[in-house]
Amino acid sequence: MNVPLSHVLAVAALLFAIGGICATARRSIIMILVGVEFMLTAACIAFVGGALAWGNLDGQAAAIIVMGVAAAEAAVGLALLVHGRRGGGTAEADDYNRLGGRP
């Protein structure tokens, strides 16, 4: 293997940070879901890189599980978004703030 594990981890960390910033800084639910996908992908890369470095298939299995989780998350998240829009809501995450109580 030509690429050392530290580089793989660095890319994963960078991707995770980009996803985190995207998820926190953006207001739109779509963009938040995109940020979450970024972070899940970064985790996948870290798992796959670990599996390659140590010759252990557990990491690849975990990557497949993460893909499944990501697909399910995207499906549920988008379904919730569609439901919210139908109920007269918006695509802005900050409009769904009833947990904070009525100020």
Binding site: G20, T24, A25, R27, I32, A93, D94, L99, G101, P103
Partner: protein, 621 residues
Amino acid sequence: MTTTIALMLLFPLAGAVFQAAFGSRLGRRASGLAAAAAVAGALAAALAAVSGLGVAPRHVGFGQWFAFDGLSVAFSVLYDRVAGLMAVMVTFVALLIHLYSTVYMRHDKAYARYFCYLNLFVFFMLVIALADDLVFLFMGWEGVGFCSFALIGFWHEKLANVDAGRKAFLMTRVGDLGYVAALALLVAAFGHASASELAARAGTLSPGMATAVALLFVFAAFGKSAQLPLSSWLPDAMAGPTPVSALIHAATMVTAGVYLLMRLEPLLAVAPAAGATASLVGAATALYGAVCALGQRDVKRILAYSTISQVGYMFLAAGCGDVSGAFFHLQAHAFFKSLLFMCAGIMIQACREEHDIFRMGRDLRRRMPGLFVLFACGAAALAALPPTSGYFSKGRTLADALAHPGPAFQIAFVLGVVAAFVTALYVFRMVFVAFFAEPDQPARPDHDPAIARMQRPLWPLAFLALVYGFANTPGFMHIKPFLDAYLAGTATPIPPEVEAAELFVASLDAFLALAGLGLAWALYRPARRPAAAADGWLTAGLGLDALYRRSLAGPYCRLAAFLWRGVDEDVLNGGVSAAAAGVSGLSAALRRLGSGRVSASLTALFGAAAAMLLWLALRLA
């Protein structure tokens, strides 16, 4: 003996409780009669108790009050001839004043409260007269102070009356500090404080201790008896109903200070400095009161200043150690001054609540000749015209001062003599202006027949004011002095020097009284159409009130304002408010974190994760 004394005390107490419970349901007339009956019962008991009393004092105990840590206080009574006569005098004057009050308060709606306090006052005053244990006496002392406070502010709808009551209460409390301090010293020395014990063991006290205790008691007496420097509450105390002024602020309560000194005469005997202080201050107060009375227009305030002045004479005699002389003047004063006060009450009601003597005039005399005769009897005794009671009793106090060696007593004698002249002057100024002058704006007369009925209880007092002096005539008249003979063995006998001085003093006193009468006629006779001078220093009591207001009340108010506005509101309230505002601001900041916004939650989550990872990384490194 025990039963009669207990009855004497219980009659007015039961009367007060009865008035409080049933007085207002009973109706005005029955309530007043019940109150008078209670005092009449006390008078009967007092007469029964005193009738068979020998020279030896009787000790009567009604059980222990409380005891702890080497202090024991008992409801004990020292019943000697002074106490016996005092109790008779108090109940007798109180009975007449109760009878007068039943008519005087004929329109007042709070008659039950009035008679309740009046009966309660008689009870506490009898406690003072009888008590042996000085703590028991202090109960009566404070009790009369409370009744005085409640009755001065009796018409409490007017704020000025309430203020006058509070002023009297506070100023007499200042004197009471002396009483409490003296009690503390005595209890520390003896374990308990009683008049008889003090009489027996006063000699065993160290001279410094005896002087300190005696001076503190004298100070307490000054407060109660409105002597300088604690005199300024008494003129304001005239805000109360006039019978109250007659009973409490002329005949009985203000003389309680003198009575205390009479009871503690053995202590004063071993502390000559205290006696000299009492005499000197008493004489100075006599002059002060007489001079201030010259500047008053309100008939009750004239009489109030005259009370201050006359009580000063009693202090003069008591400070000289002459118990029977002080007691003689106390009794004579009680008779003529309560007479004068009740006459003043009739004058005020007859002129429709007009207090100003410059608006009464000769119409009053023509309408109510009986009232004029009564008032003249009292005035003659107060001005010490021979041979009224005031002439003999005041002469005795002056003779005491003259016969006593020491510069303090000589100064006191001179002050007393000048005061005697001024007394005659202000008394006849009052008589001539109130009963002879033709005022420009006379008060409207009130022809209610009930007003004339109020004169009836005053005739015995007028009789006593005129002839009571013969109970204790000076030696040169060669009539047996009954009071001195009766009190011989109870009180210290008068020294021969006093008897030697009496002839000189009697002639001087008669001359001064007649000179005062003549000068008053020259200045205030109706032909001169006397007009009231503008209010000045004399009206304001030589500025004593203003001095206290400026030097004591003013700084106190400023300190209180500083403590209120500066310390309490700014520092304490400000601190609490700032703490509350800080917590509230912190909560507002925290509330923003929990706003339910996804981005905030996520930021917090990432921040926490980053911090944890950083911490782990640093630990591993």
